[in-house]
Symmetry: C2
Subunit: 384 residues, 2 copies
Amino acid sequence: MERVAVIDAAMTQFGQRDGWIRELLAEAGQACLDTAGVSPDAIEHLYVSNMASGELEGQTGVSNALAHDLGAVPAYTARIDQTSSSGGAGVYAAWQSIASGASELTLLVGGEKMTHRTTAEATDVIASLTHPVEYKHGITLPSFAGLTARLYLETYDAPREALGKVAVKNHRNGVDNPHAQFRKEVSLETVLESPIVADPLRLYDFCPITDGSAALLFCPESLAERYTDTYAIVSGIGGATDTHVVHERGDPTTMGGVVDSSNDAYEMAEITSDDIDVAELHDMFTILEFLQLEDLGFFEKGAGWKAADEGITARDGALPINTSGGLKSKGHPLGASGIAQVYEIYQQVTNNAGPRQVEAKTGLACNVGGFGNCVTTTILENAQ
Amino acid sequence: MERVAVIDAAMTQFGQRDGWIRELLAEAGQACLDTAGVSPDAIEHLYVSNMASGELEGQTGVSNALAHDLGAVPAYTARIDQTSSSGGAGVYAAWQSIASGASELTLLVGGEKMTHRTTAEATDVIASLTHPVEYKHGITLPSFAGLTARLYLETYDAPREALGKVAVKNHRNGVDNPHAQFRKEVSLETVLESPIVADPLRLYDFCPITDGSAALLFCPESLAERYTDTYAIVSGIGGATDTHVVHERGDPTTMGGVVDSSNDAYEMAEITSDDIDVAELHDMFTILEFLQLEDLGFFEKGAGWKAADEGITARDGALPINTSGGLKSKGHPLGASGIAQVYEIYQQVTNNAGPRQVEAKTGLACNVGGFGNCVTTTILENAQ
């Protein structure tokens, strides 16, 4: 089986944006084609990662719209939805399109337009992914996060401050990311004194509501040098579900989808978690960074919280996490997030991350859908 | 590249159904696993074809819900949306999952729950796939169908009755399909005297609003005999777009996506249109059967209308079309339709179509999204 290369990446400014989903998707897609010097005619498959353009904007058929807007007709296109991990699912779909031989040049664009809706409306659309038993009781993803954070802190005797340090770290990283929604440092005091949202989690433990899009261009490894000298290889990729009903999980502080998808990705890449130099984790809520640090095998169960506390996951630490600023500071336009994670890892392993650059030949992106309901893990390696 | 086998197929009763999308998806998915004798634990990838569960029912995350309901966790899952060709796009995704080596057993389930909404509401949700320039003028897919039918009849000097004969033929075929929404013959007079919907098209030129789901099970050819003796091979598959703005097409009586996707499928299967023994076409409107008969290469441009007129496409004709009853009589639950088309071809080429059986070693399914905006064509061959 021939390996799959990522030959280009682009993303829009994340934040509160004018325009609507079509314009955001076209902006990242066009930027990706422009920097790669690729004509839209050359695209064979075009995937769009998007959760809810119909629910949020009354617009469906967005992948066809994008094929039109980019001038990519008659390229095949489809929309890939895996709720908040739609981006990661798009990466997996694009990988399959190349690995299966169906396409020799696949453009993946993901995005979401959200800020025109109130936070309550957007949160409700997202909550419609939960099991109806839970939804009808008014449970949203922030509620799950609060419950899980409380359990985690108690079970592993972790201090509340440790959660706050994740926010502080990711905001600090975001300062150097020109695409980030927030480019400002926050103090631990600011985080700990911000309004309670879902006890013990406070406003600064949550990612914002965001508009934006991101894009990646894929081809078979054997064709990559036609396009660029700086490409990366998708050396491992995997996806897995966990229970749809969150309370059915044996240990709510473990995300089975993270464990299973990363094990598949490590096995395919023939590496272990020890070989990962940098990672983008799905810090929709600060507590999720702890769970992923553990479930990806970077730290023992219950030890993830110490990583931020001790600076191990800082940009100058032994295992830099969320050098992009993460969802927390960069923002979380649902369909874009998993692609923006891979964007950052692509920049890191191809040594193009500018002021955010760390030493990295191998990087990992973990994109979490729902409250761990479905997860994709992607590993990129420097191709040189 | 190893070839991909279809080892089982199932579908629910189509029509006005109780229950909601989750229950419909689970019904077809479970039926498929049951007849194949496969445990849900064995599923590696699970794809759900669905256009609008969020818009129609306020339920998102349906692929995760299905993984839960079937007991398939931790199988990877994602939703595939390509509007009315979501089913065909799901077939393509499932094919890629096997052909790429990502999965050795993929279950595809597609469905839609629509009849709880009014026809106007459902039509409006579907119309939200169109270009906003067209949508804002109140154009829906039935409007396009009326305009195209008028142009076709004028351009090719075809009689209005020819359209009616498509409806008569497909209703006749549907009588023998226990899953069909309508199992009643209609006379040409009934069709021609039914109320006008979009002149010259009348009520009986349109498929109904339908609830239902359908499922297919895929594995590599080398593993097929583990599961069954009666499997089919996906010998060809292709997908292509046409302009999102319908009026930008050079000739509105040609669907470029049908031409391009079928050419790709024929090339992959190393056959021509002459080698197709039976086909399921996307007769959402009677006029579409003419366009596809021509754009798939079965007849010259402008000659498609004569096929139904002369009985060539009847079940006992030289090229049986829509032996299932087609969308016209079987019904059109958006996400299910492309899968139900392949279900019928699978039954035909494995000689399991019962009273609908025709002589067929090779069959084709053409699933049209939007008004030809995106099309997938799938060719199945008897494996024996």
